[in-house]
């Protein structure tokens, strides 16, 4: 029973493995962009450390924040990217005329993204540690919580944006890629959200990632792990995962009811 349930999940994962194996260019988004980001920000933090006399070490503050935000981006793009492979290959009719269920499909997207994101994370950790001396011990056990919250929020946004593409048609793909960039000013990746205008702070508090970066800065200032704040961020992230799954299922039902799914190969659907 259990093995039978996971066969379609394995199919979704295996398809992406075949694509990675067959097309080396697909490895680029897995680790190349995040690696470039780490190198770029690594040198920026080194430069800042050399010119700012405050004594503040920018490596764990800035480079650590970049690494964590890149991990979140990678997770989100990982989910949406696997989904978009079905859009690009016009595979919806074949896929959804099979016995696969929406929970199985989403589980396949999430597990695939988890594997590719972990590869990206390992590359970033290796580069940041080896080249710029970033030590993750400074974050303590909170690092696990940080990664979990970022992972869950990345999953939720990946599923949500996939649902938007399913609803609006293949041309809505361009909405997927800039989402992390749109979120970053509100998330306080590089600055406390208290410096933002009130309306931006309000949005920031609705974003689980903002609690991660606030927590990171608190720890680096020598404060205690902000347990309550991270619990709130984690709770929001879990809520968003549930909401995004509900949203995807609802969009799928709409697509089946209106015929969008059957006509999906069109450039755009109304």
């Amino acid at each position: 029973m259990t093995t039978t349930y996971f066969r379609p999940v394995i199919a979704v994962m295996l398809r992406y493995c075949y694509l990675l194996r067959g097309t080396p260019a697909r490895w680029i988004p897995v680790f190349a962009w995040v690696a470039i980001d780490i190198v770029l920000w690594g040198f920026i933090t080194k430069f800042l450390n050399s010119v700012v006399a405050s004594g503040l070490n920018f490596v764990p503050a800035l480079l650590g924040a970049v690494l964590l935000f890149d991990f979140f981006t990678r997770v989100m793009h990982g989910v949406a990217g696997v989904f978009l492979e079905d859009v690009w290959s016009r595979n919806f009719l074949n896929l959804f005329a099979s016995p696969i269920t929406i929970p199985q499909y989403l589980l396949g997207l999430v597990i695939t993204s988890t594997v590719t994101s972990m590869i990206g994370l390992l590359v970033m950790l290796a580069l940041a540690t080896a080249l710029f001396g970033l030590s993750f011990f400074v974050y303590g056990l909170a690092l696990g919580l940080f990664l979990l919250i970022l992972f869950l929020f990345g999953i939720s946004l990946g599923i949500c944006t996939s649902a938007v593409v399913l609803r609006l048609g293949p041309s809505a793909e361009w909405l997927v890629w800039p989402v992390p960039a749109v979120i970053s000013p509100f998330a306080g990746v590089f600055y406390p959200i208290s410096i933002l205008p009130h309306w931006m702070q309000f949005i920031g508090r609705l974003l689980p990632v903002s609690y991660v970066f606030e927590g990171l800065r608190t720890i680096l200032r020598g404060g205690a792990v902000p347990g309550t704040s991270l619990m709130l961020g984690g709770g929001l992230a879990v809520l968003y995962v549930l909401l995004s799954c509900w949203f995807f299922k609802r969009v799928f039902r709409h697509a089946v009811r209106t015929g969008i799914l059957a006509r999906y190969s069109a450039e755009s659907v109304s």
Partner: protein, 247 residues
């Protein structure tokens, strides 16, 4: 013969205009049923509803006695299809595609099944070639191999020979007849090729304006309605759909 597909009072409308208008029919095990009709008659809409990718407004679809709306995964697990407008992912090889769809359909003994299908559809030379670079005929054979991967009880074929040369089309027809004759399942086949219909189908349904206008044996139906050929009958029904009462 038991029924592998039972459709009752099926209706689907877009913006108030019915694409399929309260149709009912059955496909029995071992039977090949031709679904004929002019463009826009509702053939593909019907097939999409049977495949579960389009929800009917009213009516019921039963596959092997299982209601599609209530038991979607189980009903779809006993169904499969091939259509010219649904090619397999072109960036995967023949063997990779068959493995993926075998997993999606929960096929047991998958490696042996893939090997058997590769042999049955003469795909040995292409098994490690990406589907996107195959010719139309080769892609059709791969699509049919995929459609047979789960040994379906109900096989839906939407113009499977549309892009094939006569020799390749004849080979495909022979394989479909072989499938039906084996008693594995029933076939619902749409095509515009009347020679093919007469050659392959045990029964035909003429669909026009979303309604079944005629039903019967393709070999005797033209004579029963005073037309010399199936094609003449098709043209007459397509041109004057509202002058005839549905059967």
């Amino acid at each position: 013969m038991s029924s592998v597909l039972s459709i009752r009072d099926l209706r689907k409308a877009y913006g108030g205009k019915p694409a399929v208008n309260r149709i009912s029919f059955e496909v029995r095990r071992g039977e090949i049923v031709g679904l004929l009709g002019p463009n826009g008659a509702g053939k593909t809409t019907t097939i999409n509803m049977v495949l579960g990718v389009l929800e009917p407004d009213t009516g019921s679809i039963q596959v092997d006695g299982m209601d599609l709306a209530a038991c979607r995964p189980k009903a779809l697990g006993r169904t499969n299809f091939a259509a010219v407008y649904a090619p397999l992912p072109g960036n995967l090889t023949v063997r990779q595609n068959l493995r993926l769809f075998g997993l999606l359909y929960g096929v047991k003994g998958l490696s042996a099944r893939i090997q058997a299908l590769i042999g049955r559809f003469d795909l040995e030379n292409f098994q490690n070639v990406k589907c996107g670079v195959l010719s139309s005929g080769e892609q059709t054979r791969v699509a049919l191999a995929k459609a047979m991967i789960n040994q379906p009880h109900l096989l839906l074929l939407d113009e499977p020979t549309a892009s094939l040369d006569p020799v390749a089309a004849r080979e495909i027809r022979a394989r479909i007849r072989q499938f039906a004759a084996s008693g594995e399942g029933g076939v619902l086949w749409t095509t515009h090729n009347m020679v093919e219909v007469r050659d392959v189908c045990d029964r035909v349904l003429f669909l026009s304006h979303g309604r079944i206008m005629l039903e019967g044996d393709p070999k005797t139906l033209p004579e029963e309605h005073g037309r010399p050929t199936l094609e003449e009958l098709f043209i007459a029904v397509a041109r004057e759909p509202l002058t005839q009462e549905p059967t």
